[in-house]
Amino acid sequence: MKLEEVGRILEADLLCGEDLLLREVVTVCGSDLLSDVLAFTIQETLLLTALINMQVIRTADLSDLIGIVFVNGKRPGTDLIAMAQQKRIPLFVTRLPMYEACGRLYQYGLKGCI
């Protein structure tokens, strides 16, 4: 599934990375623990999180995540978006809570990093 379809399924707003929406999402991780993201994801995983601090972008960059969806309508600041643009990490924000967002993507066939 492409990132643009993820955006549609989650009724999400795109914050940055318009030119990267054709990236293929293979696995998804929903977590607010960055240590777990670093430990349990694989390359090119999509992250769903409610964290909106700069370390989320660092974590995504250093562990080669394919993109980030902020759940619960959490909107990050402009400095975070600027860093994501620089690191070429697409960002979405959805009003859906974590469980609902993960559930929808799972329903469409996207699995976790097992």
Partner: protein, 152 residues
């Protein structure tokens, strides 16, 4: 450790405790250099994750530290030496889920007690030494070709 290859790129960084703005910058720069010289992406990922976990540990727990990356053609060695409280029980600290990080660190998404075990998991060689009240030194090696066994 000796390398068969004499070519080496050395990167040095100064880390400051509690500087969360800069946390991860050093690891990010190391990753960039590894990409520029064409190291395999799955290998870079292991180096980047272990470097980042170690860098975060210095930012979270120590007063200051030095981080050094030595990139050889067949392996990368990363060493972090910090001045800080040290670790009194390394065996306990190495257990998954054990953490002494305060609540504000947990709110940031860290402090889940996965850092040290994750460093071990991502690296081919991991060494840690610590003196209470003085500081901690961590040394990690990742082979660029996973079939190579460093030091043999």
């Amino acid at each position: 450790m000796e390398s068969l290859n004499t070519q080496v790129i050395v990167l040095n960084f100064e880390l400051k405790g509690s500087d969360f703005e800069a946390a991860g910058e050093a690891s990010s720069k190391i990753k960039l250099v590894l990409q520029q010289i064409g190291i395999r992406s799955d290998v870079i990922r292991r180096i980047a994750i272990s470097a980042y976990e170690a860098e975060m540990n210095v930012i979270i727990h120590a007063y200051r530290g030095k981080m050094k990356a030595e990139i050889f053609s067949d392996h990368t060695k990363i060493t972090l030496k910090d001045e800080g409280p040290g670790i009194s029980d390394i065996k306990l600290a190495m257990q998954e889920g054990y953490s002494t990080a305060p609540d504000y660190i947990r709110e940031m998404g860290f402090g889940a007690g996965m850092g040290l075990p994750n460093m071990v998991r991502c690296t081919d060689k991991f060494d840690i030494e610590s003196s209470v009240g003085i500081g901690t030194t961590i040394s990690m090696t990742v082979c660029h070709n996973p079939l190579t066994i460093v030091g043999q």
